[in-house]
């Protein structure tokens, strides 16, 4: 690659930089901004839902709007908020934790972000185009078919998620390859930090689960756009088939979401207890086992579908088994703290708050696993409470912990602790206020996804408490935003190891790290690589290579246009039936759709024929950076 030295250094600044970047750290920030934005949108939808339900027989929103809100709240939070915020953390941290200079496929990484973003925007355009999807985030047929959802709402769901799903799938593949191939010398699998491990297993789950979603969405797209009959019983299709396909994706998706949160908690608790993670190898084993079992339990979402006693019994037992590795994790965290020296930073408050909260979500999960009892819980507010305990109480608390913990690494500034603690307490108390009581609403007979409820059924007070809790969670989120804004005006002065107890490789480099992350690839001599060096009295890592020119990938605008092309194609095909003919017998919508796909293919063609070898950052610049930061 000696000839590559002659290539010009390509660097952009400002908006152009953000549109073309292939740097995992910047893509992580893009994921965070987009995911954070959709989190606010989904949160607003949640608040509207809770306002509608705060009193009986309320008509704050119409029944139609309510179904749109509940569908978009679920879809947005899962696909457009939670997943991207996890990808934000994975992008920001995983390459640093394994001592890599970037992910394996930087271009693909950028493509993953832009397809996710355009898919997410497409989904939300539906609000302004005559109606959002309204068949629930599960989009069960036949309600999601054209017979019962005649407008374009569900089309947006199908195409928006399909496009966003491409981004997730290629993102997952990218992290698998990165973690397998790009670890620094000495960073064996059993020395990897637990967050990297969970990112690895999550990526493997994405690899196997998202194709199922893609197939299901493609089939539903054929039903909706081209008069297919996969799921329409009146045409010989089968509605239960969709349930299977959806949950074969949907259940692993739950673990795709929660495993990285487990990883965050492991890092944060270990750091702020100044202790090695208790039972590291059993933690790794438990993560793999949860990932594996996650594929064996999808039908526990379908106990009432009528699969028969044999299936129900088997899926009950398989589901209960997941409690064992999850329990191992819980106790390992507790015994990591045991005997430690625990510092309650905001990040650690979120992590410690996570443990009992997640356990509450976990035990209701085991309760739900008992099929006959699930006949009572299923599709009631008990289930709503359960999955919010695992997703908000688990995943979102985990994300908050991770954001507070790695914020200085991502942005070079430590978030304000006072505002952080205020965020934690309002969000945490608001969360329990909102969802704890919903267990009882469900047990007392309140079904989920209901637009309103009658007076005198005994649901009134509990719903009002739940709504008050939701408002508190809103305040918690506002405090967090306030913290981000005020912190962004502070000087960028975070040290490389701002918590002083950092254990892993990301804390050995400046905050934020230079473009190339590691001036010299570090030599890893054990688990908790940085901590080991500190304990042996070294000030940093032993380098595994001399300082020399570093090869970097070139930025590219192509991923942005590929996402845009898919967006245009989606809109075109969706409205082909409405927009009439461009010329005789050829619909305008198809023309637009094909134009969108042509943009995509043109970008792919350009990417294939134009060989860009990237550029090198020369020794002088690296030495200058080192000097400046010392």
């Amino acid at each position: 690659m000696a000839h590559a030295h002659t290539h010009k250094v390509k660097r952009y600044s400002g908006i152009k930089d953000w549109l073309t970047t292939v740097d995992h750290k910047k893509i992580g920030i893009l994921y965070l901004i987009a995911g954070g934005f959709f989190f606010l949108v989904g949160g607003l939808e949640a608040l509207l839902i809770r306002i509608q339900l705060w009193k009986p027989m309320n008509d704050f929103v119409s029944a139609d709007t309510f179904n749109e809100l509940l569908t978009m709240h679920g879809t947005t939070m899962i696909f457009l908020a939670a997943m991207p915020m996890l990808f934000a953390l994975m992008n920001a941290v995983v390459p640093l934790q394994i001592g890599a200079r970037d992910v394996a496929f930087p271009f693909v990484n950028s493509l993953g972000f832009w397809t996710f973003l355009f898919g997410g925007i497409l989904l939300n355009v539906s609000w302004f185009a005559g109606g959002a999807p309204d068949a629930g985030w599960t989009a069960y047929a036949p309600l999601a078919g054209t017979t019962y959802s005649g407008d374009h709402g569900v089309d947006y769901y199908v195409l928006g998620l399909q496009i966003a799903g491409i981004g997730t799938l290629i993102g997952g593949i990218n992290f698998l390859v990165t973690i397998i191939n790009m670890r620094a010398p000495g960073m064996t699998f059993m020395r990897m930090p637990l967050f990297t491990w969970t990112a690895f297993i999550t990526s493997a789950l994405i690899l196997f689960a998202f194709p199922a979603l893609a197939v299901g969405l493609a089939a539903l797209m054929f039903d909706r756009l081209f008069d297919g009959n996969f799921f329409d019983p009146s045409g010989g299709g089968n509605a239960v088939l969709w349930e299977h396909i959806f949950w074969i994706f949907g259940h692993p998706e739950v673990y795709i979401l929660i495993l990285p949160a487990f990883g965050v908690i492991s890092e944060v608790i270990s750091t702020f207890s100044r202790k090695r993670l208790f039972g590291y190898s059993s933690m790794v084993f438990a993560t793999i086992l949860i990932g594996f079992l996650g594929f064996m339990v999808w039908a526990h979402h379908m106990f009432t579908t009528g699969l028969g006693p044999v299936a129900n019994a088997l899926f009950s037992i398989a589901t209960m088994l997941i409690a064992v590795p999850t329990g191992i994790k819980i106790f390992n965290w507790l015994f990591t703290m045991w005997g430690g020296s625990i510092k309650f930073t905001t990040a650690n408050l979120f992590a410690v708050g996570f443990i009992p909260t997640f356990v509450m979500g976990g035990v209701t999960g085991v309760m739900l696993a008992a099929a006959p009892a699930d006949f009572q819980y299923h599709d009631s507010y008990f289930v709503v409470a359960h999955f919010h305990y695992v997703i908000v109480g688990g995943l979102i608390l985990g994300i908050f912990a991770g954001l507070h913990y790695w914020w200085p690494k991502m942005f070079g500034r430590v978030l304000n602790e006072t505002l952080g603690k205020l965020t934690f307490w309002t969000f945490f108390i608001g969360f329990h206020l909102t969802f704890f009581i919903q267990h009882f609403l469900g047990l007392l007979g309140m079904p989920r996804r209901i637009w309103t409820y009658l007076d005198g059924l005994g649901f009134n007070e509990m719903n009002m408490i739940s709504t008050i809790g939701a408002v508190l969670m809103g305040f918690g989120t506002i405090f967090f935003l306030l913290n981000i804004v005020t912190t962004s005006f502070k000087p960028k002065n975070a040290s490389g190891d701002p918590w002083e107890d950092g254990r892993t490789l990301e804390w050995t480099i400046p905050s934020p790290p230079p473009e190339y992350n590691f001036a010299q690839t570090p030599l890893v001599r054990g688990y908790d690589a940085y901590w080991k060096e500190k304990m042996e009295g070294h000030s940093g890592m032993t380098p595994a290579e001399p300082i020399g020119p570093i090869h970097m990938p070139s930025p590219s605008i192509l991923p942005f246009f590929m996402g845009l092309g898919l967006f245009i194609a989606g809109i075109g095909f969706m409205y082909a039936q409405d927009w009439g003919n461009l010329f005789d017998g050829f619909k305008l919508g198809y023309a637009i759709g094909i134009a969108g796909l042509l943009i995509l293919f043109l970008c792919m063609f350009l990417r294939s024929v134009y060989d860009d070898h990237g550029f090198h950052i020369e020794e002088e610049e690296i030495l200058r950076d080192k000097g400046g930061k010392a």
Binding site: F66, A239, K275, S316, G327, G339, S341, P372, A373, R449
Partner: protein
């Protein structure tokens, strides 16, 4: 813990709460719930206790620079917290499997059981008694103590048939995908039923009632609902009723089968499943039978958005006459 279970048992309305079961099926399910809750409370107590102890005992004093002992793990402890949960899961798993098979018993050939075919529609419930050749809607009349053997299906989208105080739910699937369940109500009374699967805008309003009556009343109901019914006495109202109502609905042996059968609607507990009939209205959804019928017919979309009836073009007199006529369509089977 026993206290907790006791508190739970006292929770909620007798006709609606899963925690206050009124029949053997819900009882069995509640039993399993209590077992699971008890086991899970042990887990919660242990985890909370360790958490609280740890965060108080091991919090960092300010200025503390000591490095705690770096423990790699502990085989004995790790085996304990693997094995004990497995034992707990066996304690829960065995009765779960037993109950799964117990609740899947087939009563469809049992001559002692009452056979009912439940068909769900957007947004109402049709109940057919194949042995008696009866179809009714919104209110399932059952004889006290008898096993009710249900075959459940849907005429349109997915719905789910749920009577929380009597039995857990079963989905109603479209196509030939018929599900079966059974339940019984040892005590007389009216139990609230709900649709538990998102089925459209009025999903939350798709309520029904299960009314358990003694066996002789049930027999009288079976006979009464098959009696012929007279048209409204006022010929103008009768004409409107025939042309505008009977095209879809049936009363007695007249009318069409596609939409809810109205025979005996005057003696049902509610109109449209949610407008509760009472002479002492307390809430917005309560009123006399006549008021409820009037309100429903005047604008069904106000009561259940998105339902398929739509506004019927009726004069004030026709509306009043039909509401009055229907409110007087009573089946006198209770004594």
């Amino acid at each position: 813990m026993a206290m907790m279970v006791l508190v739970l048992a006292a929770c909620g309305r007798e006709d609606l709460s899963t925690l206050n079961p009124q029949g053997p099926v819900a009882e069995e399910q509640f039993g399993l719930m209590k077992l699971a809750i008890s086991i899970m409370l042990i887990v919660i107590v242990v985890v909370f206790a360790i958490t609280i102890y740890v965060i108080i005992r091991f919090r960092r004093r300010s200025g503390d620079k000591t490095i705690p002992k770096q423990v790699e793990g502990n085989h004995k402890l790790e085996i304990i917290w693997t094995v004990i949960p497995i034992i707990m899961l066996i304690i829960l798993g065995v009765p779960t499997v037993q109950s799964v098979f117990n609740l899947s018993k087939d009563y469809s050939k049992d001559p002692e059981a009452v056979q009912v075919i439940v068909t769900s529609h957007q947004y109402w419930w049709e109940f057919e008694y194949p042995d008696y050749g009866i179809k009714t809607a919104q209110e399932l009349i059952i004889p006290t103590g008898k096993t009710i053997s249900v075959k459940a299906k849907s005429a349109d989208v997915l719905h789910s048939f749920w009577i929380p105080s009597l039995a857990g739910k079963i989905d109603t699937n479209p196509g030939a995908n018929v599900n079966a369940m059974y339940f019984s109500a040892p005590k007389e009374g009216v139990y609230l039923g709900k649709c538990a699967e998102l089925c459209g805008p009025s999903h939350g309003l798709m309520d029904f009632k299960v009314k358990s009556v003694d066996e002789s009343s049930f027999d009288r109901w079976v006979a009464a609902i098959q009696e012929p019914v007279a048209l409204p006495s006022d010929p103008a109202v009768a004409a409107a009723f025939e042309s505008k109502c009977l095209s879809c609905h049936a009363v007695g042996d007249m009318g069409g089968p596609a939409y809810p059968n109205l025979t005996g609607i005057g003696s049902r507990e509610s109109v449209g499943g949610i407008l509760v009939n009472t002479d002492d209205p307390k809430y917005d959804n309560e009123g006399s039978v006549y008021d409820n019928l009037y309100r429903w017919i005047e604008n069904p979309d106000d009561v259940k958005p998105g339902n398929q009836m739509g506004k019927i073009d009726l004069t004030e007199q026709e509306l009043d006459g039909i509401a009055k006529y229907l409110s007087e369509l009573k089946l006198n089977y209770e004594q």
